[in-house]
């Protein structure tokens, strides 16, 4: 039951949704947002796509099996925690790097950021694993 309005709207909405989810992910450290919400928004975008078209097309669009996506996310999260191990500090001690982009300002990059990216990927992965395999039934 594909609806023309929905599928057309989805074509425009999906990239916007994804962009928004990444925005939410990265601003999460200072403003409301973060990996969980960002991941859920991205997952919702793909779910919308699956409803508007069908699951096969969504999987093709995704390009990667959502199960692998959640595994990748776990690895990223774990890996971000391991960086401190190489610096001789306990697991998951935050490490920060300040980059200056004069005159724009400066950017602080830290391992918690990568951890949040891991969370983001896991959330997308698990949500899509569940919803897509259910929709295929």
């Amino acid at each position: 039951m594909t609806s023309l309005i929905l599928s057309t709207a989805t074509r425009f909405l999906l990239p916007l949704f994804l962009l928004f989810s990444i925005f939410i992910l990265f601003r999460g450290h200072n403003q409301p947002g973060g990996g969980f919400v960002g991941g859920l928004i991205a997952a919702a975008a793909f779910a919308l796509h699956a409803i508007a078209y069908d699951v096969k097309r969504t999987r093709r669009l995704l390009g990667i099996d959502p199960r692998n996506l959640s595994a990748l996310g776990l690895l990223v999260a774990m890996g971000s925690g391991m960086i401190s191990l190489f610096l001789g500090e306990p697991f998951m001690t935050g490490q920060w790097l300040t980059l200056s982009f004069w005159p724009v300002g400066q950017l602080e990059i830290g391992t918690p950021l990568f951890f949040d990216v891991g969370v983001y990927l896991v959330v997308i992965g698990i949500t899509l694993t569940i919803i897509l395999s259910l929709a295929e039934e």
């Binding site: 200072n30 403003q31 409301p32 859920l40 959330v123 698990i126 949500t127 569940i130 259910l134």
Partner: protein
């Protein structure tokens, strides 16, 4: 508002429990959902309610930081919401399979199949 929410949480628990006591597994899972909301709201209320001061320090003067809402219950609930989703999905699919295998959603008849 805490007092009002105490009644709301009590009502949510009562509704959830009532649904969990039904014989249909479908109602059981709705009951579980209500229970989850009740628990989150309970923690949220007991952590203390604060109006219009989210725990975000961006652009906040240093002396105002003490007045922000308690971030700890919020972090707990955020985790609980997402975990709750995962558990609910698993329970739903499990029940779906059980119903498919047994051919009924009546817990009493399901019980009869494993003996």
């Amino acid at each position: 508002m805490e007092t009002l929410l105490a009644f709301v949480v009590g009502g949510l628990y009562a509704a959830g429990l009532y649904m969990m006591l039904r014989r249909s597994v479908l109602k059981l899972i709705i009951g579980l959902g209500l229970f989850g909301h009740a628990a989150n709201l309970l923690i949220f209320t007991m952590g203390g309610l604060t109006r219009a001061q989210p725990p975000i320090l961006f652009g906040l003067p240093a002396d105002a930081a003490a007045g922000v809402a308690d971030p700890l219950p919020q972090a707990l609930i955020l985790t609980a919401i997402v975990i709750g989703f995962g558990v609910q999905a698993f329970a739903l699919v499990l029940i779906r399979r059980a119903v498919q295998a047994v051919g009924t959603d009546d817990l009493d008849q399901m019980k009869a199949t494993d003996t």
